[in-house]
């Protein structure tokens, strides 16, 4: 049963070519595991982890991972709906995966929420010898496109926690700022308090940011599941 409590729940999606290490980044972050021979992702995979930010805020990250293959676009709309953060992953040893970053960026921009924060992630930085995409390449692309940037290794764990922690932190800032604005505009505050009710996951949204539509709330009927 889901008995943990949290103050916020944020939906984060991963995207990038197949094989760049998206699923392993999720394993590493949520379970501190690396699975050299994990199966390829089919459809959508889902994991959660609750972390602490700003000393006292508990944030539950709801992480959606998907396959990188073109064909799977049929499930894309429900995938992006409500996402407030996106990790756009490439493989530093695979130039092609970096060349495809603009395409992925376009896809998030078209499908995700307007204020979805995007972080560019260069994974497999442990493979020094095989590297073909350099730090400066990633950094300059990120700067030009206004993205956050980090390099990681799901294998040896470098940068993984930092990547998720940083994006959650940024999302938190953006969302609270937005909420303050909307409150000033008379929208009113939501019911506060931590949600710990087992079997009552629908209360994930009754926390501080209730009025904010951009916070992912799959439990609410119209939340992330409108159409077919």
């Amino acid at each position: 049963m889901d008995s943990e409590s949290y103050d916020f729940i944020f939906k984060i999606v991963l995207l990038g070519d197949s094989g760049v290490g998206k699923s392993n980044l999720v394993f590493r972050f949520t379970k501190n595991e690396f699975n050299k021979d994990s199966k390829s992702t089919i459809g959508v995979e889902f994991a959660t982890k609750t972390v602490q930010i700003e000393d006292d805020k508990l944030v539950k990250a709801q992480i959606w991972d998907t396959a990188g293959q073109e064909r799977y676009r049929s499930i894309a709309s429900s995938y992006y709906r409500g996402a407030v953060g996106a990790l756009l992953v490439y493989d530093v040893t695979d130039r092609n995966s970096f060349n495809h970053v603009p395409m992925w960026l376009k896809e998030v921009e078209e499908n995700a929420e307007k204020d979805c924060l995007i972080m560019l992630v260069g994974n497999k930085m442990d493979l020094h010898e095989q590297r073909t995409v350099f730090v400066r390449d990633g950094r300059s692309f990120a700067r030009k496109n206004g993205l956050a940037f980090i390099e990681t290794s799901a294998l040896d764990a470098t940068g993984v926690d930092t990547a998720f922690q940083r994006i959650l932190q940024e999302i938190y800032k953006t969302q609270t700022r937005k909420q303050l604005k909307s409150q000033a505009g008379g929208a009113g505050g939501g019911g506060g308090g931590k949600d710990g009710a087992p079997g009552g996951p629908a209360r994930g949204q009754t926390i501080s940011l209730t009025q904010n539509e951009t916070i992912e709330n799959p439990q609410k009927k119209q939340g992330c599941c409108g159409g077919q």
Binding site: S18, G199, C225
Partner: protein, 398 residues
């Protein structure tokens, strides 16, 4: 139609009391679940009361004799073979039975040898033309396909040692690539790699000749018998797997073409079906906000291969192949519905996060033939209840 009665009936089949421990083959005749045979063409419920029910609970040797009789007759009766195979094919008869049911081998016994030789040669030729070529003569799309296939091969059934064997991996990569280049309308789609695994495993087993039910297959799957398989044998395994995969996929082609319309159709039909047979579960799923597409996409795309261990999949496929063309399209949806409803009491206790995580890793590790047969029986009941009378649940095949 009385849905409550339907549900009762379904539950009665789907949840029989399980006797403790594993049951072994024919030894536990009484404990065998009732598995309904299904004739090749008719869907009428009358078929249920057919003499094959007796066969299902008879000792294996008798069943094997019946398979033998069909397979070795001058012209195998497809109708008989289907009826028999629906209830499970003994491991060592599976290779030939599958090949015939998939139309790779002719029913006419005297023509099988020649037909197989020609197809194997044809495949080798295709490998020469498509695979054994310099990389710079491949189109951009072909290079992408090759890259994707090579990324996926080591990620295919990584928990089964057989698929960590370098020769098996090479075969898999090559046959997937050749299939993709020869079927550009869909090309290689992730998940097709999974579909090749039961075929490869069964045909590797065939080379070893003496693979028997149960543990015999375990020897094949754990890779320990690969030393007895020559390269020459592997070439034939690869060719046979290629043609059988081609035949399987030809029945469900629009599952893997652009936007995957076949997949979407099946997920919709599953949802419709669950609405009727387990309204409580359906409404719980709606309340939590989970979409069928989010969990059932994988069930359709990989035909439940990600949900079951390989021996269970083989048993499932005995029935699918017996269903003919509709097996992987129509009947599969009923199997998925039974599968979901089987876990209904558990699922109805769960919220969104928990549901999502549970459903991407259904607890079937301890499942064997017996559980699969229960699933098949209940799917059969559903198909007779909802298949014939509900026009909109029927699929129009072209």
């Amino acid at each position: 139609m009385n849905v409550a009665a339907t549900l009762m009936q379904l539950r009665a089949v789907a949840f029989p009391p399980l006797p403790g421990g594993e049951t072994d083959d024919g030894a536990a005749a009484v404990a065998d679940p009732v598995v309904f045979p299904r004739s090749a063409t008719a869907t009428a419920a009358v078929d249920v009361v057919d003499d094959d029910v007796a066969v299902a609970v008879a000792p294996r040797t008798y069943r094997e004799r019946r398979f033998d009789a069909i397979l070795s007759s001058p012209v195998a009766s497809l109708r008989e073979l289907r009826k028999l195979a629906w209830n499970g094919v003994p491991q060592h008869m599976r290779p030939t039975t599958w090949k015939i049911l998939l139309g790779y081998l002719p029913a006419n016994a005297s023509r099988r040898e020649g037909a197989m030789r020609r197809r194997r040669e044809e495949y080798r030729d295709a490998v020469r033309r498509h695979y054994d070529v310099p990389d710079d003569s491949r189109t951009y799309a072909e290079q992408e396909t090759l890259r994707q296939v090579l990324v996926d091969v080591p990620r295919t059934a990584p928990d089964v040692p057989l698929f960590r064997d370098p020769r098996v991996r090479r075969c898999l990569g090559r046959l997937l690539y050749v299939w993709a280049t020869r079927h550009p309308a869909s090309g290689y789609v992730q998940g097709i790699n999974d579909l090749a695994t039961p075929l490869l495993a069964v045909f590797v087993g065939e080379c070893l000749g003496d693979v028997v039910d149960g543990d015999g297959m375990a020897d094949v799957l754990d890779g320990s018998r690969m030393v007895d398989v020559t390269d020459r044998m592997m070439e034939d395994v690869e060719a046979d797997a290629y043609w059988c995969l081609t035949s399987l996929l030809s029945g469900i082609q629009d599952h893997y073409t652009s936007d995957q319309p076949g997949m979407q159709r099946m997920v919709m039909r599953l949802e419709e079906l669950v609405n009727r047979i387990d309204a409580e579960l359906a409404s719980h799923l709606r309340d939590t906000g989970i979409e069928f597409m989010q969990f059932a996409f994988k069930w359709m795309n990989c035909l439940l291969l990600r949900e079951f261990r390989l021996p269970c999949v083989m048993r499932l496929w005995d029935a699918y192949f017996s269903e003919g063309d509709g097996g992987f399209e129509d009947f599969h949806v009923y199997v998925c519905a039974s599968f979901l409803v089987h876990f209904s009491p558990t699922l109805r206790q769960m919220g969104f996060d928990e549901l999502f995580q549970f459903m991407q890793n259904m607890p079937t590790d301890d499942w064997g033939d017996r559980e699969v047969e229960i699933l098949l029986s209940s799917a059969f009941v559903l198909s007779t209840l909802f298949g014939g009378s509900e026009a909109h649940l029927n699929v129009v095949r072209h």
